[in-house]
Amino acid sequence: MLRYTLIRLLAAIPVLFFVVLITFTLVHTAPGGPFDDERKASPEVLEGLNRHYNLDAPIQKQFVDYVANLIQGDFGPSFKYPNRSVSELISTGMSTTLELGIYALLFAMCLGALTGIAAGLKPNSLQDYMPMSIAMIGICLPSFVMGPLLVLLFGIYLEWLPVAGWGLSPGDKLLPSITLGAAYAAYIARLTRNGMLDVMSQDYIRTAKAKGLPQYRVVIFHALRGALAPVISFAGPAAAGLLSGSFVVETIYQIPGLGRFYLQAAFNRDYTMILGTTIFFAVLIIFFNILADILLAWVNPKLRQSLRGNSR
């Protein structure tokens, strides 16, 4: 397992390099520069700015310099916030965004898995149709519709919860987390239900029942592992989805997270900030993909053994 993990981590390096290369090229071939707004700036000032930010060097050199700094953990200075480095900005936004993502993921996992299991145990009954219909609504109501509706209902009409902010007033984390997690709860519920249906018709479940085990043991010890496998492999894509979903949620609830920083940076053509955040996001997503694969192998002994490689 350790060996597999190491190999996967090593294999991520070229992928990351690829990400850096694409992003760097995209940003630098784009029409317009970061200082277009500073119309009144004299040519000398512009030149100075360019020199300061290493923009006058040939593009290849810029790239090499950038990667060299990157390896040392330096994302460079921000163009728009001259006194702050990208690393600083990322770490400011990161904690908020990660917190939001984790709450949303927890909400999605718990609600999704529970309803999915319940539905999968009694297919084609009310216990199946009810949650699955609600899950369908969750999938068809995008976060940017669900969010405002929740705000309208709980924030404006009922006045139970604050309509914006993060960590400023009690309960203000609830609505953003639900908004972000709802669609994933719905997906997970559907995945779990189908996984459950699949597993419950397996021969080894029949064996477990024939042993006289009570229902809860059959479900928890025999069915769950198999049923949750598709959910685990969904964790990678879910992480990516949650990150981009956080852009919307942070916009709706005016949360100072990484998503908003990223959007501002993109609109402002803040090159280093765009590059930095993109790479940071890529690392997160790749990390979650690897984590999901490792978890999957850990759950499945057969897969685990085949990954061990030198076992024979």
């Binding site: 690829f18 940003v27 029409p31 369908m136 995008p142 981009s244 709706i252």
Partner: protein, 302 residues
């Protein structure tokens, strides 16, 4: 099918008419689909949406950019079914025009994904071996990339053009399609009837067109139907962030984003486009689920 094998079918077909015709799997699937009320509902809603969006220039009551600042934002009325926005533009007209953009993006970007994905998946699955390993490895690597972030970057950097949107979304969505198609082809390739076709002396092309493609059509149709809503969602998401369509043009996402800004004062500006968007997504998802159940008798048996 008979006609696909024979060049001159007339004489033969009349000779065969005397025998009772069988029911193909596709006909069976259609019968099952027709029994599924939600799927039929989805199909009707979807058809209605498509017809309305096609006829928009002729049926829209107002011009989508005609402002009426005296009117301002007004709640729904007989003149303006969905009310007007702060510039006095008719919301119903704007939703209609928005549906043109959203549906077009949905269908065209899905077609892009479909073309690349099916081609890629079929080649990988059928050729197999090293080619397959390399092709699928590329897909794996691309899967790990933060695409939604790339798309945002693209839209920001190169400006908001529809063409770019099609390409960008299509470029993301083909990956899953390729995986699904490859899995199906691989599975079929080891079926005995394909081996039988090989041992009958059929060429690769004949095996491909007569034995493999007809059998993967079902899953492709199903997955296509389920891809369209996710593409529409992605476009709306971008438009919501202000990265999609350029004003004064509108799409559902951009309308929703205006609606959110004035949610307290003029809730109808949010509610109507949201309802239309969700309704379309519902219709497509129901139809897709229905198609899947209809094509895969295993799931419809229980």
């Amino acid at each position: 099918m008979i006609s696909s094998l024979l060049t001159k079918k007339s004489q033969l077909n009349t000779a065969l008419q005397q025998y009772e015709s069988g029911r193909s799997l596709r006909q069976d699937a259609f019968v099952r689909l027709k029994k599924n009320k939600l799927a039929v509902f989805g199909l009707i809603v979807l058809s209605l949406m498509i017809v309305l969006s096609l006829l928009t220039p002729w049926i829209a009551p107002y011009s989508y950019e005609a402002q009426n600042l005296d009117l301002g934002a007004s709640p729904p009325s007989w003149q303006h079914w969905m009310g007007t926005d702060i510039f006095g533009r008719d919301q119903f007209t704007r939703v209609l025009y928005g549906s043109r953009v959203s549906l077009m993006v949905g269908f065209i970007a899905t077609s892009v994904a479909l073309c690349i994905g099916v081609l890629w998946g079929t080649i990988a699955g059928y050729v197999g071996g090293r080619v397959d390993a390399i092709m699928m490895r590329i897909v794996d690597v691309l899967y790990a990339l933060p695409f939604s972030i790339f798309i945002i970057l693209l839209m920001v950097v190169f400006g908001r053009s529809l063409l770019l949107l099609f390409l960008a979304i299509g470029a993301v969505e083909w990956l899953t399609m390729a995986r699904i198609v490859r899995g199906q082809v691989l599975n079929l390739r080891h079926q005995e009837f394909v081996e039988a076709a090989v041992s009958l002396g059929l060429s690769r092309w004949q095996i491909m067109t007569r034995h493999i493609i007809p059998n993967i059509l079902g899953p492709i149709i199903v997955y296509t139907t389920l891809t369209i809503p996710s593409v529409i969602l992605l476009e709306s998401f971008l438009s919501f962030l202000g990265l999609g369509i350029q004003p004064p043009q509108s799409s559902w996402g951009s309308l929703i984003s205006y609606g959110v800004e004035t949610i307290e004062e003029y809730p109808w500006l949010l509610i109507y486009p949201s309802v239309v968007l969700s309704l379309t997504l519902f219709a497509l998802n129901f139809l897709g689920d229905g198609l899947r159940d209809a094509f895969d008798p295993r799931t419809s048996k229980d």
